[in-house]
């Protein structure tokens, strides 16, 4: 089968809407297709990776652990926009998984190299 470069672009906060969770479901399914997969997190999307989700009080299923499991699926290209982090008072240390922090322009360059861009 053809190998294509897929990027999943995440710009929305978790729990307020379902997009972050349902985006992860696509990523996990996509991993079985052995494509070249990466995830980009910009704007409020960086909040998805903030560690320490405790969802008991809102009675929703937490999905922080799923980010940690991505590596088991050989999904390990996680790019995080540093401007988005800074504007939210966050650093890489606040995130639940190892990521590559880079400038918005650098993420833009990676976007240009993709074959398929799915945004959530």
């Amino acid at each position: 089968m053809t190998t294509k470069k897929f990027m999943f672009v995440n710009r929305k906060a978790p729990y307020g809407t379902v997009y972050a969770l349902e985006s992860l479901e696509v990523v996990l399914i996509g991993a079985a297709f052995e494509q070249d997969v990466s995830l980009a997190f910009l704007d409020d999307g960086v909040y998805q990776l903030k560690k320490g989700h405790q969802t008991k009080g809102i009675e929703m299923k937490g999905f922080e652990k799923t980010y940690g499991a991505l590596d088991d699926y050989d999904v390990n290209k996680l790019y995080v926009d540093e401007e988005s982090l800074a504007a939210r008072g966050l650093t890489a240390d606040d995130l639940c998984v190892p990521v590559e922090v880079m400038s918005r322009a650098a993420i833009g360059k990676l976007m240009e190299e993709q074959d398929v861009l799915l945004s959530f």
Binding site: K12, A13, Y15, T17, H53, T55, G57
Partner: protein
């Protein structure tokens, strides 16, 4: 009156418009709105600037879900759903800024 804001201040203009309207009373941050009440957020100074005009609240369960329960800005009171109910009854009216 009680102003209820459920949007992140860095994604939408909702909270800014609420502040500009300047109704006074209280602001309760819920859902993605709670990010406005976190230390280091770029909107923090704007919220701090209006602390004399509003009582500021944020919903604890929403803060905890998002992993930011331990970085609530000074001057913001954390409430649970029962506290949310009490705020609604305490003020004559409430507006959800959708």
């Amino acid at each position: 009156m009680l102003n209820i804001v459920n949007k992140s201040p860095l994604d939408r203009n909702t909270l800014q418009t609420c502040l500009d309207a300047g109704t006074g009373g209280a602001i309760l941050l819920i859902e993605d709105g709670v990010y406005a009440a976190t230390r280091g957020n770029a909107f923090e100074s704007k919220l701090k600037a209006v602390q004399g005009n509003y009582k500021l609240f944020a919903l604890g369960p929403d803060l905890d879900a998002r992993g930011v329960g331990d970085r609530v800005s000074d001057g913001v009171t954390v409430v649970d759903y029962a506290g949310f109910v009490d705020l609604v009854t305490e003020y004559k009216t409430c507006q959800s800024w959708l």
